[in-house]
Amino acid sequence: MGGEKKITGKKNVILSILSVVLLCVLLFPLFWILMTSLKTEQEIFRIPPTIIPEKLNLASYAAQVETGDFNMFQSFANSFIISIGATLISVILAVPASYGIAKYRFRGRKVMLLGFLVTQMLPVAVLLTPMFILFRGMNLYNTPGAAILADATIGIPFSILILKNYFASIPRDLEEAAYIDGCNRFSAFIRVLIPIAKPGVMVCAIFSFLYAWGDLAYGMTFIIDQQKRPITAGIFNFMGQYGTKWSYLTAFAVVTIIPVALIFIFMQKYIISGMTSGAVKG
């Protein structure tokens, strides 16, 4: 942690309390929809609003299991497959690319860098039709592959721009030491540089995953079968179906958030340590 000393005593308590207050303020919207999802439709509209539901109403959750051909668990699995796939592609392609851009001065480097900047700028409306034609040609239409390839286009340029800084901040001495030990450029990259840039790689992986996780347009356009679509498409359908029926909508939102939040909370030890431990010293 930037080598900050461990804070103890009174200051520790004050800062801890302050941090929890900040947490409550920033996460209030989530708390609020959780409470709303447990209320009846009448109670939601009551003035003054009740903070904690007066009468626990679980009907909105039950309704989701019962309605339609939408399968929550299947959608989750789909979203996971798509997001993991997109993350793998992003990381595998972006890590070497950012190293190349940070450490080598080859011809056309600037143009490529500008290229990566530009490619992530296109609004989705422009991309849908041409991508659709491509995926159809590749026989990927209506498969997770189409969404994976499309989602990776968000993660790759992002990761390159972030990781470039990481590799640039690694002193050349480290790399040269590897050459003296008999590494060539590629093995030095894999054995020495990637481990050092691990926090950056972790961040890129997380962001690539989340971009893919949150994507709506690609998953919905390139996959037509409801059973194969990601969870975001499910939410979108649900909103079309239940408009302002807030008890249902908030219940759906909660169901969507909880599993991700749980995974994240359990994983966060690794994520945070991965992000902060490998920092370059000196």
Binding site: M1, G2, E4, K5, I7, N12, S16, S19, L22, L26, P29, I44, L93, A97, I101, Y104, F106, R107, L113, G115, F116, L117, V118, T119, Q120, M121, L122, P123, V126, L127, P130, M131, T153, I156, F158, I162, N165, Y166, A168, R172, E176, P199, V203, L210, W213, L216, A217, I231, M239, T256, I257, V260, A261, F264, I265, Q268, M275, T276, K281, G282
Partner: protein
């Protein structure tokens, strides 16, 4: 020693091998749409010509038309206002939080981790949440403001042309804070501890250390955060589409949503493409500025 280093690193074309796979990938999936979109914007493609093999050439007509279209001008301004407001707020708040949690107290890591949750939620769901909070009668915000005595009557946030943009900015800042916080946090870890220690020995105060050490060393991180933030905010789509669909009365249309509407709701494909290209040109200019700004560090 100096010479070997130069041979190893400077103008070393081996580097291109590392970059090429990613570059080709992007060229295929995004380069082609860009080219296609540019062609499309110079044609006149509507429902009547969409499936015809020969599409009429329109020259600059689409661009002339959109610049005379008040909704387009409004979208352009909206996009700029939205982007600048979001960037300013989410950057400042994110930065402060990053500094705060960079202190090593008991709950710092756990709470910082939890604060990432808003960023993990699909934007579609975030939009839903904020639509609920900003609701006129059902929304908690109006109730809170009323009980604090700040307003007398409920504000119709999302159905009034003056306030819908504000609601969108709030939602987007909420999403953007963790993004800024985490990138700056990781940036902070790249600053060597020794620098702070020696600064402390020299008797530098906190403020001084921040401006003399933290900020300059964070520059590359800050540049990336701002530029990425700009790009992702500028092409905002899902949030606006779900929360307001550009309404009420086009007051929250962004270039991206307007382009979508022209293309897929009004079937004016070429005009939609032209709007998207304007967005692209603006971002391209920003991109070039970014490269200029980072020149020093690269050379």
């Amino acid at each position: 020693m100096k010479k070997t280093r130069k041979r190893l690193f400077a103008y070393d074309n081996v580097g291109i091998l590392f970059v090429l796979p990613a570059f080709v990938y992007m060229l295929v999936f995004v380069g082609y749409p860009i080219v296609r979109n540019i062609v499309l914007s110079f044609q006149d493609v509507t429902v009547r010509t969409l499936t015809k093999p020969d599409k009429p050439f329109a020259g600059l007509q689409n661009y002339i038309d959109i610049f005379q279209d008040p909704v387009f001008i409004r979208s352009l301004l909206n996009t700029l206002i939205f982007t600048v407001c979001c960037l300013v707020f989410q950057f400042i708040i994110g930065f402060l939080l990053a500094l705060f949690f960079n202190q090593n107290f008991k709950t710092s890591k756990v709470v910082r981790g939890l604060l990432l949750i808003p960023w993990m939620i699909p934007i579609t769901v975030t939009a839903l949440i904020f639509k609920f909070i900003f609701g006129t009668d059902v929304g908690i915000l109006n109730y809170a403001l009323q009980s604090l005595g700040l307003i007398k009557e409920n504000i119709d946030w999302l159905t009034s042309t003056n306030t819908a943009m504000f609601a969108l900015i709030c939602a987007n800042v909420w999403i953007g804070i963790p993004f800024n916080m985490i990138l700056i946090s990781t940036g902070l870890t790249t600053i060597p501890t020794e620098l702070y220690e020696s600064a402390a020995l020299d008797g530098a105060g906190k403020v001084q250390t921040f401006f003399k050490i933290t900020l300059p060393l964070l520059r590359p991180t800050i540049e990336s955060v701002l530029i990425l933030g700009f790009i992702y905010t500028f092409k905002v789509y899902d949030l606006v589409y779900v929360m307001t669909s550009g309404g009420p009365v086009n007051s929250t249309h962004m270039l991206s949503t307007y382009s979508y509407k022209l293309s897929f709701e009004l079937f004016k494909y070429s005009k939609g493409a032209a709007v998207a290209n304007v967005l692209l040109v603006i971002l391209l200019i920003v991109g070039v500025f970014y490269l200029r700004a980072t020149k020093e560090e690269n050379e």
